[in-house]
């Protein structure tokens, strides 16, 4: 028999058991006050949640793939082939993992640009922006490291190029190249390392930053955009109104993933061969096509400096500029956006889209 502590003991055995020990009514009380602003841009609030859902899908499918995947030059390709040809529903798990990765980065990018154009990064949410951008970069790190794991021809050369880019950097380049590859060339050592990055190191870092990112949102609440005509609609309760809408969208995304995986199963390709030429038409995943286009378009030398070095430094500075944007655009005019900030956003979005399109069309 539990002792009676207060006169207002909650009903129900299990509920009471937890209430008496952990005070769950406080959590419920807090949750009942959480709201979501309602205005014409409210639809953009959903993309953060969709990114989160796709991350959860990646964790679940990734853990399932771990049960059969065997890292190694003699086993990586073979084990993925085993997964997609022999293991019941292995093709589905693997295809969802590949499609989910791409959709997650797409959802995160939509989330990022919507935050940018709603100007939600201004004080006090500077660090929410920075942590979110770090999560996107980490997601690309997941994409880059995971791409090698099936050890096929495309992934072999993608990794060669990607790690060679790191080696182009002055001073730290040599260290970075050997740190990433685990040897002078892309070998089985690289495969082991990328597996470690993909399945242990990146998940650990990502989980910490994701927790911080979500904590910031809980502490500060959702950003209300500075509209010329403020919304007159009352905010929507998070529980259950917004959560149920979230869940419905997650269900739709899950269906989309299943459709893509079933009708467009992810290719495995040919096994990597260090003594074969790079296949014609080789291209990276869509989110690296922009960088790929830059590397292809730049000439060998610009004003005596290596073109690829200039490209890498340019892209790097651009990323830093973007990450620190809340500090460039600080002093908010009441109820307005800044024309130059919007212009920068449009230029970034357009040039990224155009370069991606150019990279996709390049033969």
């Amino acid at each position: 028999m539990a002792e009676r502590t207060t006169s207002k003991a909650p009903p129900g055995g299990l509920k009471r058991w937890f209430e008496e020990r952990y005070g769950l009514s406080k959590v419920r009380e807090w949750a009942s006050h959480k709201t979501v602003p309602v205005h014409r841009g409210s639809v953009w609030y959903y993309f953060g949640g969709v990114s989160l859902f796709l991350f959860i899908v990646q964790v679940v499918t990734g853990v399932l793939l771990l049960l059969y995947y065997r890292v190694g030059v003699e086993s990586s390709y073979e084990s993925v082939r085993f997964i997609i040809t022999k293991v019941p529903f292995g093709w589905l798990i693997r295809s969802i993992h590949s499609w989910g990765a791409n959709l997650m980065i797409l959802a995160a990018m939509i989330h990022m640009f919507s935050v940018f154009f709603e100007r939600a990064y201004v004080k006090p949410r500077e660090l929410t922006w920075v942590s979110g951008f770090l999560l996107l970069l980490l997601a690309m790190g997941f994409g880059f490291s995971g791409y090698l794991l099936p050890w096929n021809k495309l992934s072999y050369f993608a990794t060669k190029v990607g790690t060679d880019i790191a080696g182009v950097l002055p001073w730290a380049g040599g260290f970075l190249l050997r740190f990433l590859r685990g040897s002078e060339d892309v070998t089985g050592a690289t495969l082991s390392r990328f597996f470690g990055f993909h399945a242990a190191i990146l998940p650990a870092i990502f989980t910490v930053i994701l927790t911080v990112h979500l904590l910031f949102v809980q502490v500060q609440g959702m950003s209300q955009p500075h509209l010329k005509k403020p919304s007159t609609k009352p905010p929507m309760p998070f529980f259950p109104n917004f959560v149920l809408r979230d869940l419905l969208l997650w269900l739709m995304v899950l269906n989309l993933l299943a459709l893509l995986a079933v009708f467009f199963p992810w290719e495995l390709g040919d096994k990597a061969d260090p003594f074969a030429s790079a296949p014609a038409g080789i291209k990276p995943e869509w989110y690296f096509l922009g960088a790929f286009a830059v590397l292809r378009l730049l000439p060998a030398h610009i004003l005596g400096i290596a073109g690829d070095l200039l490209g890498v430094i340019g892209i790097g500075l651009g990323l830093v500029f973007w990450a620190l944007f809340p500090w460039w655009d600080r002093h908010a005019p009441e109820g307005g956006r800044k024309a130059w900030a919007v212009a920068i956003g449009v230029i970034v979005l357009l040039s990224f889209s155009l370069l991606t399109y150019w990279g996709w069309r390049a033969s």
């Binding site: 002078e184 003594f275 030429s277 790079a278 590397l295 000439p299 060998a300």
Partner: protein, 154 residues
């Protein structure tokens, strides 16, 4: 020790400073002694590169004019190109841009890299696209109808 109170005060302050400095230094030493082995561990030890003096790629008649063949030059790929007029040219097949393995394109008559569309002529000179340097040339010798490729004397 004539004035016990003031010496006590001084003692307290110096002892606190001393302990702060000791703990600080100890902290730095602890971090360094954990971080240094990890940082060193991350970079793999250098491995002796298997670099054969000469590689037998095959019989002269195995290589048709206007074709290219990838072969193993130690642990790096090499490319042997037989031009239309039957001459042999050999290079390391590692593109000087970002390290992809190049191939011979008979339709263009050049050595081509699929990754970023770099082109080299049959002397290995970079003629188009992003590659910054010519391909590393290799020596070709024909003895008893066999093609031998070796690294050029430096």
């Amino acid at each position: 020790m004539n004035d016990p109170t003031s010496s006590l005060e001084n003692d307290k302050i110096t002892r606190r400073h001393f302990l702060d400095a000791a703990i600080g230094l100890g902290g730095v030493a602890l971090v360094a002694s954990v971080a240094y082995p990890i940082a060193k561990y991350l970079v793999p030890p250098p491995q002796a590169e298997a670099s054969p003096a000469s590689v037998n790629v095959g019989k002269v008649d195995d290589f048709q004019p206007d074709t290219g063949t990838i072969f193993k030059m130690g642990n790096k790929p090499g490319i042997l190109v037989r031009s239309k007029d039957g001459e042999f040219h050999a290079f390391l097949a590692v593109c000087t841009h970002l390290g992809c393995t190049v191939q011979y394109r008979p339709d263009l008559g050049v050595i081509w890299c699929a990754c970023h569309s770099g082109r080299f002529d049959l002397n290995g000179i970079n003629i188009a696209g992003p590659p910054p340097r010519p391909l590393t040339p290799l020596d070709v010798n024909i003895r008893d109808g066999q093609v031998f490729v070796s690294r050029e004397e430096a």
